[in-house]
Symmetry: C2
């Protein structure tokens, strides 16, 4: 992980590792780095795919030794990681899905309504468009979220396999 990324768009200055950033954030507010919080942060930073709280909970319990955490603690820590800027949260079909945010370039998603897969993409034009639109409305943009839903290549081929289109 960490890997001083250096993308062209949205590059974030990654001076600290996610762990360090988290520690800094917690210490700054008198919060403690407990065994479970550390286990969660470590686990999350090793996998870079999108995930939800339940998946994380299961993964933690399944993986290595007794390095687990209770459901409430997983949820609590996930919120802290979002506050710390390590993760970005988005709601899809009713449940929260998380992805890395610290040290990652700004991007948006293509969401396959058939297999629920999220495909990332980034577009400079979109940023420009966003700022232009905001300016027109004297609106101060703080962020945006674009999700293009449809069917991914894989599902287009193996069409009529299992499930079909759900809601956007």
């Amino acid at each position: 992980m960490s890997s001083s990324a250096d993308f062209s768009l949205g590059t974030v200055n990654t001076a600290l590792t996610p762990q360090e950033r988290f520690a800094e954030f917690m210490q700054a507010r008198g919060k403690r780095i407990t065994r479970q919080r550390q286990a969660i942060v470590d686990h999350v930073t090793t996998r870079h795919e999108h995930f939800d709280a339940e998946q994380l909970l299961a993964d933690l319990r399944a993986s290595a030794a007794g390095e687990g955490a209770s459901r409430p603690t997983v949820y609590r820590t996930l919120n802290e990681m979002v506050e710390a800027g390590l993760l970005k949260k988005m709601v899809l079909d009713g449940r929260a899905v998380y992805e890395h945010d610290y040290g990652y370039p700004q991007h948006d998603h293509l969401y396959c309504t058939s297999c629920q897969r999220l495909i990332e993409f980034s577009s400079e034009e979109l940023i420009a468009l966003r700022n232009a639109v905001a300016a027109t409305h004297q609106f101060r943009p703080q962020g945006h979220r674009l999700i293009i839903s449809g069917i991914c290549v894989d599902c287009r081929s193996k069409r009529s396999t299992s499930r079909h289109q759900d809601r956007v």
Copy 2:
């Protein structure tokens, strides 16, 4: 479905009134136009702002005579209206928000995290961008949702009034 659409950018060919379209949709699947469904559709078509289920429920009970409906019926009918293409649903801060979709041009939103107001805007560039991105990933786009969050003009002036930034 059907209706040989031929819009330039989002403008929908409105041959039927929302009520007619709803009736057609329902009849086509053996569903009945009950007093409460009619009341809901009528009420919704008279107001063009964004709203959620609870607001609608309250409005229905408050407004005119005994033209109300139970909570389950309101939720059920809202789903039918979405299926019928009359309404578009989007999830904001945990609860579903609806807006008219039938006969309305495609558009996206600016979301004020301070006053929760939704400001609409439409951009042809965005559509082009969406299609270009989708094409790059051999993805078949079916729709998209762009929400630019930030602070609206009003809140920027009366700054530090009441609530402040929530999550995106």
